[in-house]
């Protein structure tokens, strides 16, 4: 809400010398937050004065334009009292008009310095200004013509145009709809600013009593429209200009002046908070009827949009049909036009929830709707309508008809029982019951202390505060007036905490482990589209294609919640490559969304705790959201340099990264060959811990690399971290070491190339028996010496007994047993 300071002070007095900063600082602390203070004329310096056009000679130019060579009386403002010669390109004025003149030495917004300069064969000593040149709006169709009594030539024009006005913009919270008006802001000044006084309520008027001579109105839905007031004026001059003060204030408030009648309704809305609608009374046919719309009905609203109405929409109708979407936007057929001479003024109170729903349904966001849906004082309809009539009469030459239609009565405000010490108990600072009563009365509440000594207060909120419904709401009112800044700072004493949970600790450990392995953590948005999954090469029946769809995604290409973190990390990797980084290793941990048919998540009641079954059903209705880890690496794992060649990353690094994570959790990962997109079919490992498949790792399929703009041989992994964390070993037993000497044996085994090394090693382990301490593959050879389709695996075996030195030949015997079992299981032949 933007409010000119002068307008606020029209309704309340503040102590002499109260600065704008002091005023806004105080209001900020009591709940009207200062957003900005703007002054339309702050970028204008130098002489900007009223000028009277004395002569005006049109001079056609070679370029087809016609300019006007004018002489302008600027009084003594130019130091000589002589008329000022000015060239002007606009034509919307005539000799005798008062115009806004900037003289040489003046500076207009944008640093536009004015000097006397030669143009079109004249020395133009200044400029006649348009609204846009002064930063007063977009109007550049012509120059500003001031009203005849606006001022005298030479007078500073700033006050006349409101250029020296300070416009204060407040951030209004949804519960303070009353502050969307000068009435509400002035009232806040009264209760917030020390020494403020003499609140002049613009809605406190003597209004004519209702009678049966007014325009007939029938309200069929009193719940939707509890109060409907109609007044009428005739003989309105549609050409009458809007007084400067009204148009300036409307502009300052961020709205657009349209015509006198419309401007007055907006002006009164800003002043009182009550939205007003004006109809061209001559276009109305018969009685006005307020009802809910019927299925299939349509209305073209003032904004030219043809709308299909919903049976829940409140509409205003006459004999011609629907003429307005009640409280939200009027219809085209009865719109006030430049020939309107009779105006029917509607000031109605509408049900806030209906307003909210209709506005949302039709995506209409209007100044009227904003107020109606948050709640307006229902008692001021007559006053607001009367104020509009007054202004139409005063500025539009209209005559007020004697008829006053008032249908319905404002709803009663509820009486709320509030404990006298509630504010004290809620705030934790001493606030007496008397102080509470004082504060509540200051904001307009009726307060009746109980006579039974209970200290309870019976509080009726003022009609402009529909937000005050619960006892605790009143405590906020008291505390904000006492001052949030007075609330003491006291630390509570929590019971002994248990620290991070184990999964929380392990997640941190995983992040640190990967950072230690050289991976950089990234964060991506979880939104993907089917094209992302296509890029991953996922087959049609891949379960990862079953995604949760967003109803209102920001982009149709990313309309789903992802089931895999790979698109995000692959995109991030590509971005780094795009930035010229040749060696990239990144990881991300985040939840993925795996839909399951849990049915709808019920909207449960809020007046009681849900049952455990209801709460469990809510959770079951949500998709599974396991925490995943994805990582990508490309380029060199060890860079080349003065020490020698670099080592490029390989599929093995992706597996190893996962192994290091698993090891940090005390787990051992087994890799077995797999074929899963987006990995290279021959270089993809399924990773398991025991019987649990925890993820996949390996080299990314070359086509996928290409699709993401990544170099070939990029590697990646994705793992279900929740599963890994669940499997994590909690307490690891301390190891024992044998101090007896080690016996080393090496064996080289030749097997078919298709035999997994892990199988050979497993057989060796088993065959070697208990004396085997460790086994390590130290060489892998393929080539002529072992023959086509064969490979040689060379293992270093270490034997040791826990309790004695091995006897001569014991290690060799164990080795032979190992080789024998490997031969039996895998067809391994010992290489000699």
């Amino acid at each position: 809400m933007k409010a000119p300071k002068s307008w606020i002070l029209e309704h309340v007095d503040v102590p002499e010398g109260t600065t704008t900063d002091e005023l806004t600082a105080r209001l900020t602390l009591t709940g009207l937050k200062l957003e900005a203070i703007a002054s339309p004329g702050k970028d204008i310096t130098g002489p900007l004065v009223v000028g009277r056009v004395l002569t005006m000679d049109p001079e056609p130019q070679k370029n087809g334009k016609t300019i006007n060579w004018c002489t302008v009386d600027v009084g003594d403002a130019n130091g000589t009292g002589e008329p000022q010669g000015i060239v002007c390109g606009a034509h919307n004025f005539k000799p005798g008009d008062l115009v806004v003149t900037v003289l040489p030495g003046g500076v207009l917004p944008g640093g536009f310095e004015i000097s006397a300069r030669k143009t079109y064969g004249h020395v133009s000593a200044g400029m006649i200004c348009s609204a846009r040149e002064l930063g007063l709006g977009e109007d550049h169709d012509g120059i500003i013509v001031l009203s005849e009594d606006a001022g005298t030539p030479g007078e500073d024009v700033r006050p006349l145009l409101g250029l020296d006005e300070e416009v204060i913009e407040f951030e209004i919270n949804p519960d303070r709809a009353y502050a969307l008006s000068l009435r509400g802001i002035a009232r806040e000044v009264l209760v917030s600013v020390d020494g403020a006084s003499n609140f002049r309520d613009p809605a406190l008027r003597n209004t004519p009593a209702a009678n049966d001579q007014g325009h007939p109105v029938v309200v069929e839905d009193a719940e939707g429209c509890p109060v409907f007031v109609a007044r009428k004026v005739t003989g309105f001059d549609p050409a009458a200009p809007t007084p400067d003060v009204i148009s300036q204030r409307i502009i300052a408030a961020g709205m657009r002046p349209i015509s006198l009648a419309v401007d007055i309704t907006n002006y009164v809305m800003l002043e009182t908070g009550r939205p007003i609608h004006g109809y061209d009374a001559d276009k109305l046919r018969g009685a006005i009827v307020v009802r809910r719309a019927r299925a299939g009905e349509r209305l073209t609203t003032l904004d030219g949009t043809d709308r299909a109405l919903d049976p829940a929409d409140l509409v205003v109708t006459d004999d011609s049909g629907i003429i307005g979407l009640g409280g939200v936007m009027g219809g085209e057929t009865t719109e006030i036009s430049d020939s309107t001479t009779s105006v029917l003024v509607e000031a109605a109170h509408w049900d806030a929830v209906s307003m909210f729903r209709t506005g949302k349904r039709h995506k209409i966001s209007s100044e009227a709707g904003k107020r109606n849906e948050r709640g307006v004082d229902p008692t001021i309809c007559e006053a607001a309508a009367d104020r509009v009539v007054e202004l139409l009469v005063e500025h539009g030459g209209a005559t007020a008809e004697p008829g006053v239609t008032v249908v319905g009565t404002p709803p009663q405000m509820p009486v709320v029982q509030v404990a006298g010490d509630l504010a004290e108990r809620v705030s934790g600072m001493p606030i007496t019951k008397e102080r509470s009563v004082e504060c509540l009365r200051a904001i307009g509440c009726e307060v009746v202390p109980a006579e039974d000594g209970s200290g309870t207060l019976s509080v009726t909120p003022p009609p402009w505060r529909p937000d005050l419904t619960d006892a605790q709401d009143f405590s906020e009112e008291v505390i904000r007036l006492v001052g949030y800044d007075k609330v003491p700072s006291v630390l509570p004493t929590p019971p002994s905490g248990r620290g991070l949970t184990r999964p929380q600790q392990l997640r941190r450990r995983i992040g640190r482990t990967l950072a230690g392995e050289g991976y950089v953590e990234v964060v991506s948005f979880p939104f993907v589209g089917t094209t992302d999954l296509d890029a991953l090469g996922l087959p049609e029946d891949d379960p990862r294609r079953r995604m949760l769809r967003l109803s209102n995604p920001l982009s149709s290409e990313a309309g789903y919640m992802t089931t895999t973190l790979l698109p995000g990390v692959l995109r991030s990797a590509a971005k780094n490559v795009g930035h010229g980084n040749t060696d990239v290793a990144i990881f991300e941990t985040a939840t993925v969304t795996l839909p399951r048919d849990g049915g709808p998540a019920a909207i449960l009641p809020v007046d009681r705790r849900p049952t455990d079954a209801e709460f469990a059903a809510l959770d079951a209705a949500l998709p599974a959201q396991p925490l995943h880890l994805a990582l990508v690496a490309l380029g060199d794992e060890v860079s080349g340099g003065w020490w020698g060649e670099g080592r490029p990353v390989s599929w093995a690094d992706a597996i190893e990264a996962v192994r290091s994570v698993a090891e940090a959790l005390g787990l051992e990962v087994t890799a077995t060959s797999a074929d899963l997109a987006p990995w290279h079919p021959g270089r993809c490992a399924e990773l398991s811990v025991g019987d649990h498949v925890v993820g996949h790792a390996g080299e990314v399929h070359p086509k996928v690399c290409e699709a993401f703009g990544l170099p070939k041989r990029t590697v990646a992994a994705e793992v279900d971290l929740d599963l890994l964390i669940e499997l994590a070993v909690h307490l690891r037993p301390a190891p024992t070491f044998s101090s007896y000497p080690v016996a080393k044996e090496d064996v080289a085994l030749v097997v078919d190339a298709s035999v997994p090394a892990a199988d050979v090693e497993a057989a060796l382990r088993e065959g070697a028996g208990e004396l085997l301490e460790s086994i390590r593959l130290f060489d892998l050879y393929t080539g002529e010496q072992v023959g086509e389709g064969r490979k040689s695996l060379a293992y270093a075996l270490r034997f040791r007994a826990p309790d004695r030195t091995l006897k001569e030949g014991e290690a060799a015997a164990a080795r032979d047993a190992a080789v024998a079992l490997a031969a039996e299981r895998t067809g391994a032949v010992q290489r000699t």
């Binding site: 729903r357 600072m429 905490g497 950072a515 050289g518 950089v520 109803s551 998540a601 849900p610």
Partner: protein, 365 residues
């Protein structure tokens, strides 16, 4: 060749003459002293102390001497050989020391050569910021609560006193999921974790919940459809706004520096009543000569988050008796806290995945 030689006249066994032995000793000592390195000394040892050295050969002649002369000759040769061996050992020590010293000099490297061969990893600054905040609260005795990001509408809104027609619902532009009648949203705030916590724990409750939240904001320098919040919730007997203030003052001083405190301004959140905006004292200018301060843009204060006393309606919906318990809740932007703490004006680098960004923060902040 060896063995007694009775044919010799002792006088004629020249090598055993005193002056001969002395000459041999002198020659040996001179050679030892002159040996420039360990290699030369090795040769000197062979030449003067080896099996075929003149003194060794002379020693063999002792047997040719008459018995009465043997002792004297033996002593003479023995002393000479002893002296030579000693000299060799001494020279050996000197030369070894010299050698070692020379080797160390020769092995000198350029230690200014670059040493980075392996990539440096790092964690994301928002992760680090979240953990830092979690740790501050864990130190106070709080626990870290969690909840899903794809959340039930009831938990994200209704349970928090945001009914279906609450105007405040439009303050938070929500991502809805399909089908719409499933009533599932991307949580717009970490507040549903409040509800979950109250539904699953008994008071006293002292928790914070850092996490991701979503709003349908177009992505620009100051808005993101996904961002991070930390939610705090305390439910206990006799909890007041003063406890909220104390907690946030402590939080502010821990995160932004000693003597940094907060300011409350009245605000509106459906789940708290009273509600407040929290401003934190600018930790750069500390409210002194703020006009030129970039961090707070001349305000002296930085908007930090929202907070308030838990609305009794929320307590009721979550099964906590408002007659016995009261609580406070607060919510701060983690990204936002990070941004002003680390002087970041555009939030997009947080979500762009450029390793240069995360790398700048290492593994702790």
């Amino acid at each position: 060749m060896s063995g007694p030689n009775t044919d010799y006249d002792p006088v004629e066994v020249t090598p055993l003459k005193a002056d001969e032995v002395e000459a041999m000793r002198e020659a040996a000592l001179a050679a030892i002293a002159a040996a420039p390195d360990l290699e030369a000394l090795k040769q000197v040892r062979l030449d003067h102390a080896g099996d075929r050295s003149p003194l060794a050969l002379a020693n063999r002649e002792i047997g040719a001497l008459p018995p009465q002369a043997r002792k004297e000759a033996g002593q003479r040769v023995g002393q000479a050989r002893g002296a030579i061996n000693q000299a060799i050992a001494a020279r050996q020590t000197v030369l070894e020391a010299e050698h070692e010293e020379r080797m160390l000099v020769e092995e000198t490297v350029d230690v200014s050569l670059p040493t980075l061969r392996r990539r440096r990893g790092s964690r994301h600054p928002i992760t680090l910021q979240s953990e830092l905040i979690a740790d501050l609260f864990v130190a106070m005795g709080y626990e870290i609560a969690e909840g899903p990001v794809v959340e039930a509408e009831w938990l994200n809104f209704d349970a928090l006193n945001l009914g279906p027609d609450h105007p405040a619902r439009t303050m938070q532009d929500t991502f809805w999921t399909e089908p719409a009648d499933d009533h599932v949203v991307l949580r717009t705030q970490t507040s549903p974790v409040q509800a979950r916590t109250m539904l699953t724990r008994k008071p006293p409750i002292y928790v914070v919940c850092p996490g991701r939240v979503f709003r349908t904001d177009e992505y620009d320098a100051t808005h993101s459809p996904m961002f991070h919040q930390v939610e705090g919730l305390v439910v206990d007997e006799g909890i007041t706004m003063a406890h909220l203030k104390g907690t946030l003052d402590h939080f502010a001083s821990q995160l932004f520096g000693d003597d940094i405190f907060t300011r409350f301004r009245p605000s509106y959140f459906p789940f708290t009543e009273p509600s407040a905006e929290v401003d934190v004292r600018c930790f750069v200018c500390r409210g002194v000569d703020s006009a030129s301060c970039r961090t707070c843009r001349g305000e002296g204060w930085i908007e930090w988050g929202g907070c308030g006393v838990v609305n009794p309606r929320v307590l009721v919906a979550c099964g906590v008796d408002p007659e016995v318990y009261s609580g406070f809740a607060f919510g701060m932007g983690i990204d936002r806290s990070f941004m002003f703490r680390h002087d970041l004006e555009d939030l997009r680098p947080l979500f762009e995945g450029d390793v240069r960004f995360s790398s700048a923060f290492g593994t702790e902040i």
